[in-house]
Amino acid sequence: MKGARQATVVGVGYSSVHREIGVDTRPLVVDACLGALHDAGLTTSQIDAVFEYPGAGSQIAVNVQRLLGIPDLRAFGDLGGSGPSGLAAAMAAVAAVESGVCDVALVFRSVNREWGQQSGRTEVPPAGNAAQFTLPYGDFGGIIPSIGMKKYRRLAELGGSEEDYGHITLNARQWSAMYERGVLTQPLTMDDYLSSRFIAEPLRLLDCDYPVTGACAAIITTAERARDLAGAAVTVDSVAFGTGSRPDWTFSDDFVFGGTIGCAQHLWATSSVTPAEVDVAELYDGFTHITISWVEALGLCGIGEFGDWVDGGKRIGPGGALPLNTNGGQLASGRLHGLSFLTEAVQQLRGDCGPRQVPGARVAVVANAHGPQCGAMVLTRT
């Protein structure tokens, strides 16, 4: 037992999200951080740590410290590039809070649309280092060709159908329609999905999330401190990273699942609950393949059984047995890059979700990324 230092999430905050190019993320990250502080009933001077996941459009931790006028920090970090997306910042905060390095950690992710935009480059980057084995073959566009091949291999090796993938996308639109921050809120049919254009066949446009500019934030502190705060606290029950063996997006040993399976095993091994007790799942959907991998890796169904399990989408939709990505995820509410899965899980466990609330939700599982960059968390509310 972690006792009084048990990490809890006591506040979440969001900025507005934008589709246009060239939006300054600084006011947005300030909005998200002040929103999380307000939600927690804290002031900026009570923050003693800042963690974030960097990338284009991001602001590093100490820049945000300065914008918020936080006098000093006992811990900070920019955990970027190779970790579990925005969740990495929260995972670092949990470790720092539970270890006693700091008491009240602000975590955020700010991202701009340009960063999610892989096309439109005109200069040819040098094909050296790791790129010498990929770029000369036209393997460019972030991890898109790799994800196309993962979908291909999954369908070849485990069976199932393209409709399995489509259910992730259709589900996102069902939930985003009930979310005040939803971005793509028009319902989709399976025909819409199956007729969306190929990017890296069999990967379709509607398998990919929706780049936006925006920010979200959360406050993580000890159970002891949380007791003094007005709002409801959510317990961080377990945390796990995962890489898989020979970690790489392309040349890994487990190409289809990456590090998700090992990450999930570590997660449940240190959790007080089991997969069967999960009430709501918030699983990364930068690409639909990633979400399906996590559903199976986490043991919510068996490996290769997603297509039957999802039951035409009924299981994961509103009123289903296992609501999934209840804010529309990144597919329908914009690519805030990982941290928004945590903030939505916290809101669900607090019962703050209005029309999209999962009744009686007490256990949530959150997962980010895929390949060599996996991270996951179990959250509980007693």
């Binding site: 040098p126 084995f133 000369p136 566009g141 196309g148 291909y152």
Partner: protein, 143 residues
Amino acid sequence: MSKPVPIPDAASAFFWEGAARGELLVQMCADCESFQYPPTVVCEKCQSRDVRPVRVSGRGTLYALTVMHQAFLPIFAEDLPFTIALVDLDDAPGARLLTNIVDAAPAGLAAGDPLEVVFEPRGDYALPQFRPARSQPERGGAE
């Protein structure tokens, strides 16, 4: 503007120089006999520094492919749609190459199909690429 030319490093020079001669070489560990790709500075299985280039037949098996319908670099736009694939080398278990599939419609291919290497000149080097196997595998002399 031309397509990207590989920039070899000390660990990979043998691979690209071999390809320029029309030979496919991969690293094999002299100590534990593991094959690996991409080439690197140690054996990733046993950490031996004694990793050596070994010439392989160029026969392989399709592991996965993707047909690119969008060129993320404009220099590849004229090739659309083109096929990127992962190919397991038949005589170097553990070595899986990222490559292109040429001389074949991807719709006619399936995971597990036999392939063979061909070389596309690129700058001072050549890219190992794969097409559906035409030649029969040679009988091994040792068995």
